[in-house]
Structures are given as C-alpha cells and as structure tokens.
Amino acid sequence: MDTVLFIVFAVIAVVCAFNVVLQKHPIASALSLIGVMGSLAVLYLLLGAEFIAMTQIIVYSGAVMVLFVLVIMLLNAGAEKPSGKSWFAQIAGLPLLLGFVGLMGFLIRGSVVPWTGAVRFGSWAGGTAQNIGRLLFTQYLLPFEVVSILILIAILGAVVLGQRELD
C-alpha cells in the first residue's frame, strides 16, 4: 500500500516538476509547482513526518505559492514567447546537466552522505509536533533563534521598503 502510494506521488511530483519548466503560461507553471509541493507533502507523510508534511502544505502551497499566483494574476502575465536562445545554453546546456546529475549521483551513492540504512515506510515515529518542538528547544535552540532573528530582519526590511514606496 505504502509502496503504491509512494510510486503514484513520486511520479506526480516528477511530472509536475517537468511541467513547471515546459509550460508556456506562468499560471500553469505555478499550478504545477503547487502539485510538486503537494506530492512532496504526501511523501513526507509516508515517511512518518506528519508535522513537516502539514507545514509543507501550509507554508509552501498555502502561503508562498498563493503569493506567486496573486502576483501573476495582478500583472496579468500572458503566455511566454520564445526568445532567441543564448549560445551558452545551446552549447553547454547538455554537458552541464549530465555533469550535475553525475555529481548528485556520486554524492548520494558515495561516502559524502553517510549511509544510515534503508528507509522503511511507517517505521519511524519521531515526526510528531511534540518531538520536533522538543528538539527545537533543546538540541537546535541556537539555529532556531538565529533563524527567528533572520526572519525578523527580513520583516523589518520589507516594512522599510514598503514605507519608501509610499513616500
């Protein structure tokens, strides 16, 4: 059951990811990206990370992508017209892609990322909100606070930029 769900949603995620790039219309690309986010959330859920899955939907599908869609709607961006392709992309595109895929394969298969054993669906139970909260306030307290300050600075920056626009 888990494997079937995994295959279905992995295929949806990959197809949607390709669709983001291939679609001509920005709204269609944005909708495909929402599809990617949603199917990733299901994959997290299959791995037992309920909290991350829900946060993925709330933050990415619910907040970030809504903003994207709103901006596209406000600007009323039409279908993209093919411009003259750059010579760099034509020459170096395929070799760079192959190199990148090879590097990723090496990093995942190789010794850079330590091997932690095979992943089994539903065998892990540390993904609840309680566990994550406890970790955030003990082991990862400093990174958590640093990220909070970073976000606060970003909010202040947004306010300052918005004020300048009004004046």
Partner: protein, 394 residues
Amino acid sequence: MNFFVVSLIKIVIVFGVLMTTLAYLQWIERKVLAHIQVRTGPLRVGPHGLMQPLADVFKLLTKEDLFPPQVNRLVYLLAPFLAVCLALISISIIPFGPEINIFGVRTYMQISDLNVGVLFALAVSALSVYAVALAGWSSNNKYSLIGGLRGSAQLISYELPLTLAVAAPLLLANHLSFRAISNSQSGYYLGFIPRWNIFQMPFPQIFGFIIFMIAAFAETNRLPFDLPEAENELVAGFHTEYSSMKFACFFMSEYANMITISCIATLLFLGGWHPLFPAPYSNYIPSILLVLAAILLFYRAVLPARVRDRRTFPVFGIAALILAVVFAIPILQIVLIPVFWFASKVGIFLFTYIWVRGTLPRFRYDQLMHFAWTFLFPFALLNLLLTALFVALF
C-alpha cells in the same frame, strides 16, 4: 479488513449527514432571514417549504451549462472542483463523539484521527484560497478578476488572526489532535462550570473565541465580509461566469466551509461533545427540550397563524415527541447524547452566521483590511502571548 469496512460505513454516514445538513442549512437560512425581515420565506414546495432544497438541486442540475468562450478551460473547470473537494475534505478529521461500542466493534465517532488534525484543517483552509483566486482569474472577466483578487487578499489577511486564535487553545490543550483537545475539556469546575476552553483556567479563551468567530466569518466569505461576491458592485464576484452545477459547487463549498468551521470552533473553544451540565442531568436535557418543543407546536396548532398550520404542526409535534422518547432510551443515549451536544453547539454557531447576515451591513474593502491588520491581528497576538504567559506561570 474490518478497518476498511468500519471506515467506509463511517464515511457514508458522515457524508450523508453533511449533505443533508448542507441542503437544509440553506432552507434554515432562508427561513431565518425571512423571519428577521418579517416575511415567511419558502412556503410553496412541501409543508413549510421543506422540499425547497430538493427543488433547488433539480433546478441547478437541469439548468443549461454555459461555457464562456474566453475562459482558460482547464483552470476554469479546476476551480469549482477544488472548491468543493477542499470544503468536504476537512470534515474527515472532525470527531462528533467519544469512543463507542456497536455490536462489539469499538470505534471512534470520527472518520480518522490525525495527530496533527488542527494543522491539517489549517492547511486545507490555506489551500481554499486557490479556488477563489483561480475562478476569478480563469473567467477572463473584470468583475471576476476583482472578486478573485479581493477574495484571495481577504483570505490571506484573515488567516493570520484565525491561526493565532487557534494557537491559544492549543497551548491549553497541549495537543494537536481534535479528539485529544476535546478530551482535555471534559470535567467541571466547582461541579457546574464546564471546563471548556472559553472557561478554561488559567486564561479563559473568550477573547480568542471572539477573534476566531470574526476571522471565521471572513474565511467563509460570509456577510459582513462577503466582498469577493459583493453583488451591488461586482455582479457576483469570482463566480460570475459559472452556471448550473459549477455554480452549485461554489455554493455547496461555502455552506460546507461554514459547517466545518463551526465544528472546529465547537471543538477548540466550546468543549466538543462535552455537555453543559454534569452527566446525570445532561442526559435528560434533549428529551425535555423536545417535549417543550412538542407542547409549543401543539399550542400553535390550536391557535394557528395560518390555516395550513392546523394540519402540519401536530405532525411535527408528534415527531418531536417520538424523538424525545428515542433520546430517553438508555442504550441509544450513549451514542445520541454526545452527538446532541455537539450538534446543538454547531447549530448555535450556524444560527449566529445567519443572524449576523440578517443584521449587519457589508464592510467597505479598506475598512475590512484595516480591521484585520490593525485591530484583529494585534489582539490575536496579545491573546496568544497572555495565554502562553499564564500557561507557563501556572
């Protein structure tokens, strides 16, 4: 296997009840609005217009399904589908009562209990912005687009106070599953004050409840916050270009959202299925209320306001008496009493929706945004901070 069969039965029951409530909520809304405005409301189809929802469904199904030529076909069809799916999906995590035992099968009165249930509800409500935004955009109509933009801006703005208001009772309950939150509100202070979150020590969530209610009105696009479909300026807003069943999808989703958010309010603030009075008394309340209703109906049948009431009211009175007897049977009480208390709290919330619609005028758009960001949001934040402080201190 047993799990699948039990789940399937529960889904069928919940879906059937939800759909019936949806249809009759609309009848109740028309009736209550009519009586607020000193009219009688639907009266032609069936006794007291009780068959009106059925007639409406037939009307919507048989209407011509117009397909405007200028729309973005895929997104145009996706939007109502999304609206109705997202509206119906949240009901699956709502618990209607405690664990029960039917024919040896122990099960919860809930389709599925997620341990991140509250987050799931918030996620689904966050996604429902898309239905409004995409419907407005894909219709290729200026009124629809403005309605869609307004709708998405409103939904995003009011999601903040809503989420902050939801977070405060979570601090008191210390859990994210709806069933655990409801269970944390059982019991009574001094033997008679229920430990619902609006009375819960150390910081009663009355302000949180009010903030939640206001934000919930905005989240469901109901008056006084129905600016996405303000008919005097935007024709019908984001669903101007939709007809027949596609329009019915938006209509259904609005009422389903109302029911779901009322259920969530009941679970988070009003103690879920836990009764207002301690156990031995609370079991007789439904029967007593139904007998009183029956007496009132018989009295009105003797002195009818309309000729037809002489025949219809006794029938309703007898039905109420039969229900009163059913509620008094001890075996059925285990199932019916929690459902009665849950349904009555949800019902009061839904009645408030209709009452407010009949009473308040619509906001202006800048007032709406101003209210959300400069009043509701800071108060919700303050409420959350105070709750956290009190929970940490005591």
